[in-house]
């Protein structure tokens, strides 16, 4: 298992528990991808997101299948999908069309919207500039799981989004954190940073009228917040700390006869 050297601690531990050989590469995801491409070619190893990529990429279509099934065999009007390499977005679009091809749905009218963090937004930037090609960037964002500066499927993601008449946008790291908190506090879902990117872009698209009130909209929140605690640790409150006594409780919360209130 090859990972970038600056991955969040919980993700490293979450892998180590299964006892693989974990290789931390001193570099970012782009460096890891390039290295693994070379290892695959030189040593005949199979990498799930490189030379046996169809297993990884085609598997992503299940997100489209489950969406349609859970909506009662209809497609949403709008979807918002986080983009790193651009593969997931491309395959959700493909998955929707496959459901039509086998006759499970009649038509695909879903608008596909892509989400990136400002510090790594080569695909969204190309889309906004009206280009069908992207310029690679050096990623700098707390959304590390989306930090691919040289997105292999960027071209296809741009194409799918344009075909669907959808849109793309990006949000700042601060907006990512605020969106993580918003989703937790309003929906009870603690998302990792990529989920914050998705929700942040969802908000933007609603505000600028791209997504309309009444549109059946699915936002793909693809990871658990416990994996990227570093991103929000300074943005959440502290616990109250009290002695195990009724007096301490009442004083702290200003209730009852010790709280100064009239109880």
């Amino acid at each position: 298992m090859f990972i970038p050297g600056d991955l969040e601690a919980a993700k490293v531990l979450g892998n180590l528990i299964y006892k693989p050989n974990v290789v931390e590469v001193e570099g970012n995801y782009d460096d890891v991808n390039r290295l693994c491409s070379e290892i695959a070619a030189e040593h005949g190893w199979a990498f799930v997101n490189i030379n046996v990529r169809p297993y990884y990429a085609e598997g992503s279509k299940t997100l489209a299948f489950e969406t349609v099934e859970q909506l009662g065999w209809r497609t949403p009007d709008q979807v918002v999908i986080p983009m790193a390499s651009g593969s997931l977005l491309t395959k959700i679009w493909k998955g929707l069309h496959e459901m039509k091809a086998v006759g499970l749905i009649n038509d695909v009218r879903t608008k596909i919207n892509g989400a990136q963090a400002e510090g790594c937004s080569p695909i969204s930037t190309a889309f906004k500039a009206g280009r069908d090609f992207f310029k690679p960037v050096k990623p700098k964002t707390i959304a590390k799981s989306l930090a691919i500066g040289n997105p292999a499927d960027g071209y296809y993601a741009l194409k799918a989004t344009a075909e669907s008449q959808g849109s793309m946008d990006m949000v700042t790291d601060d907006e990512v954190v605020e969106s993580i908190k918003l989703l937790a506090q309003t929906e009870g879902i603690f998302a990792e940073t990529a989920g914050g990117v998705t929700i942040g872009v969802l908000q933007k698209l609603v505000k600028n009228g791209t997504i309309k009130k009444g549109d059946v909209t699915v936002a793909y929140v693809t990871g658990n917040g416990l994996k990227t605690q570093e991103a929000v640790v300074d943005a959440v409150g502290r616990p109250f700390r009290i002695q195990p006594s009724l007096v301490a409780f009442e004083k702290t919360f200003k209730v009852g006869k010790n709280g100064g209130g009239d109880a």
Partner: protein, 91 residues
């Protein structure tokens, strides 16, 4: 000389070699000289107008040439060039 790592799909053009040595002063040079030594390789790397194909990534000493000067990136003896097809990465 510049050491050039050749990806598997292009190795039939280099008689199976995964690494070749080529003299060149720039990436542009390198592609021409590579093609002279291994005819046909340029057409795989560049489109009809001579631009690098979209799915070809070229690195000089681990750095993507798009962060350097693209095809005009200069090369010096001892540099290592990797040609890597773009098929990698998650989500």
């Amino acid at each position: 000389m510049i050491k050039v790592r050749i990806p598997t799909p292009l190795r039939p053009l280099t008689k199976g070699q995964g690494e070749v040595e080529i003299a060149a002063g720039s990436i542009l040079d390198l592609i021409e000289n590579l093609n002279a030594a291994h005819p046909g390789i340029k057409a795989r790397l560049c489109d009809d107008s001579g631009e690098l194909r979209r799915f070809v990534n070229i690195y000089v000493n681990e750095e993507d040439i798009r962060f350097l000067k693209g095809k005009d990136t200069s090369l010096k003896a001892g540099d290592e060039v990797s040609i890597v097809p773009a098929i990698a990465g998650g989500r």
